[in-house]
Symmetry: D2
Subunit: 290 residues, 4 copies
């Protein structure tokens, strides 16, 4: 009975880097959570414990901190590209690297004072194989809510259906969006601000017949305005707001009082693709691909 080592990889996850850039008395702040993953021919260490091909995850962590000092951080896509290229190009045993960066937002309160801002996290995932690089930008936990202009009707009725149709409901979600770039270069900061605004605008001004429809509208809006983006992937939990039945207390409830329920929740996921975009290559490399 034969066995084989299949796809594998390793790295250092959740390196919590804060970078202060000092320009005289005025400081700037970058607050990041960096995860590095590398892959290559690691049969030796798996099969015999020979660590000759292994760059320790501790050294990966050191590299992240040292590069933050040497090169600064800049936009997270750039920082990820610099790191991913370094690992593959400097290490013969590393064939591929992926760097995933989360950035937490801060709002300025003074020349060197800041306040954590917003609930969302900006993300970038950079993949590099020694030749090509792929960049996916995104955000998570951008929580949006429309208190009207959402309905849900005309769906399949099966023996297990009890949900009444509605022409007016609360629609709320925590946006998880990732967009793949046609090329590994761009004006990342300007694009992020624009992409975030486009996603919000599409959510706000779409009269929604289903969260799927809203999802597609958000992806379409992004592609329509940003030529550099080839694909958008959205994962939208349906954060249910249940109308509370107040009739036992002699009260009506014209969509005013809701219970915000935790679980279960709907989960709607979808992709919008530009027809003439390039192939994704390793951009979406699943955690388990080699």
């Amino acid at each position: 009975m034969g066995m084989t080592l299949g796809p594998n990889r390793y790295g250092k996850a959740e390196i919590r880097l804060v970078r202060v850039a000092r320009d005289g008395g005025r400081h700037d702040l970058k607050d990041l959570n960096v995860s590095v993953t590398v892959a290559g021919d690691l049969r030796a260490t798996h099969l015999t414990g020979d660590n000759a091909p292994v760059l320790p995850t501790d050294s990966q962590k050191n590299t992240v901190y040292a590069f933050a000092r040497r090169y600064g951080v800049g936009e997270i896509e750039e920082f990820g590209l610099t790191l991913a290229r370094h690992f593959v190009d400097s290490q013969p045993t590393i064939a591929r690297a992926r760097v995933h960066v989360e950035e937490y937002g801060w709002q300025r309160l003074g020349p060197h004072s800041f306040q954590r801002a917003g609930t969302e996290t900006r993300t970038a995932t950079v993949s590099y194989d020694g030749n090509a690089a792929w960049v996916v930008s995104g955000l998570t936990d951008l929580v949006l809510l429309n208190s009207t202009d959402s309905e849900f009707r005309g769906y399949v009725k099966d023996p297990y259906t009890t949900l009444p149709e509605t022409d007016d409901r609360v629609l709320a979600t925590a946006v998880n969006a990732r967009w793949r770039h046609a090329a590994a270069e761009g004006d990342w900061g300007e694009e992020y601000a624009a992409a975030r605004a486009l996603l919000c605008e599409a959510f706000v001004d779409t009269y929604s017949r289903s969260l799927q429809q809203t999802l597609y509208a958000m992806g379409e809006r992004l592609l329509a305005h940003r030529r550099e983006i080839a694909e958008v992937r959205l994962s939208l939990p349906n954060k249910h707001h249940l109308v509370v039945d107040l009739s036992p207390f002699g009260l009506d409830n014209p969509n005013e009082v809701f219970h915000a329920d935790d679980r279960p929740y709907g989960l709607i996921e979808g992709t919008v693709l530009r027809d003439d975009g390039p192939a994704p290559g390793l951009a979406w490399e699943a955690a388990w691909s080699s």
Copy 2:
């Protein structure tokens, strides 16, 4: 060997209420997490299982939703007062009630569209005993950071001290502040905005020799500007940002690259009191008082 039932109480925790107020096409949103606690003579149910004195926690929950429809929500201090008074005044077996409300912030994106805003939670804790009412307002998880103008020197050196003195460090915390009012009435919304701003300002403009000093400065600022507040309690975790030693890589690190550490963390807690303020009564009633 005798035993006695000591202090006890019960209630419904974490009622997730969302209230939409509709004024034509323009909506307003209140997003709350309400916890009710009541106490009275509950020996019967503890000792014999006789539930005659028990108002079910399910009814407490219903009351919260019904009152949101009947009276609206308004400021959370008012909503808490209305609920606390109702439970004690309408139920002979309830001698005291406490209502704790957390409010999550939303930013307007359109007439009926909103985005979750900020990381902090506004809080109000209202206590009522049938005669008097006490109101404590507050906030949690307001994350602030100064990237300079903080030092830590001149402290006790004991055999277990290895920390070097520093005249320049990052000072970061997640503010947990509660302020007790001299009276159970006020312009709660105006006050909250002002109190939040005062806390931020004191954090920003205090040159800090210790987090204790900053804490006192924040409490003092609040009392100095708001006559209606009798006492401020602050709990400030010291969110350590550790300077990474880059010397092994031939790099200096002039307070630019930090590791944001998770645990352990310092925790600084203190109170600032107005000398001529009223006694606290039940305002700070610990979870275990009767």
Copy 3:
């Protein structure tokens, strides 16, 4: 307008200490989360930033690790006593110390191999003021469930009551128990095992008319069997298991299929006291007492 510094304290929270005791090839493991809090006359640092009275929280952390090596850990109550006494007795500016220890359980798989066991955490909170010491032991997150022998009837009906009475329901909770000792010495390990068993047994063999009744039975059981315990405090969330209405699908549901709901939840808190026990002193010192 005068202001005063009120109650205050500080310390290092969540020191994650793992201690391996090696007895030849056979190892033992202690996995702790230690939080230290000290208090004394700290007006200087609050008012002027003079840190002369301040033992840094970093030194407190070092002390915890050094003591684990020098004295071992043993039972967490003993470890807490050793630390609390050290801080007060060695530092003139520290008048009181409190050490709170959480211990995570591990099950042995081999001479030096272990598996995390159980969901509950054992706790000890030790307070010391230079003269007396107080010890509170406890546990959290011990999740228990009875699938029958629980009812809830005969309660107050008010205009907001919709809950139907039931003579058969699921009763589930996550036990948070703390018990205060009459003296600061004992056979802590033996007692903990016994106390944990007594709490479980009382939960299991009490036919419950309310969670309050079960709470009292648990506290009473502990006091009845352990003379060294003067007081028990229990905080019991009522983890609601809602019977799902299957009638729309032509199915009955004789208490077999439940939705385990997250929020809101009931919260029942109570104390059982031995009549002839000593006064609590600083044992329950609330976070905000001085």
Copy 4:
């Protein structure tokens, strides 16, 4: 500029089902978290808001509860298969279904009394496309620790390497394992107990030169003993236990006192495949495949 709807799917996530099976006075308990995902031709709802092809996620939730009553739960793999087949076979618009089930363990304390046991969660992921079904079983959060017999040496040294080689360290991880079956039938309960034991045994009795080596040993052990398993995927965080430097206090530290660090952590992921196993089909269908 053309755009296309790419891969998409939807469903109800985290349905918290507790099933009590009553056999006279003796009860059995199943505590599950069920997530349903379905896919098919959903262009209409995405592009025009026409919900004719949509089976509401609310109906999916109802189906889970109803099936728990009608058919019982049994082993989670069976429950998943029954549900996945139902959705595809009964709904013309659903081409594929995936059911992911998490099961929480309970230990018996009495005929109808239980205590939550262990930290790990048993999992099953079932996929079905109208013809074939694929079953992946697994577990998460099984936390294991060896306090010796682990070394890490002979790795790449680059300019960012500071980690000293060690021939004795603590090796700790939270096992996340998934194993794919060659066929969609089996004695699931017996297999799960055996698989869990094999993973633990391989962790315990492997002298580890790297976590990669331990990972491969665990996968190999499972395949060697269970012919029905075609593939094992393991994701192993390296939960770092850092030796505390006690030399400033005049103490040595022969691997006895550790700081259990939170972040960053190593993350080692790998696959072990049986050479003659069947192709995976949809078993590992990534979240974003159609």
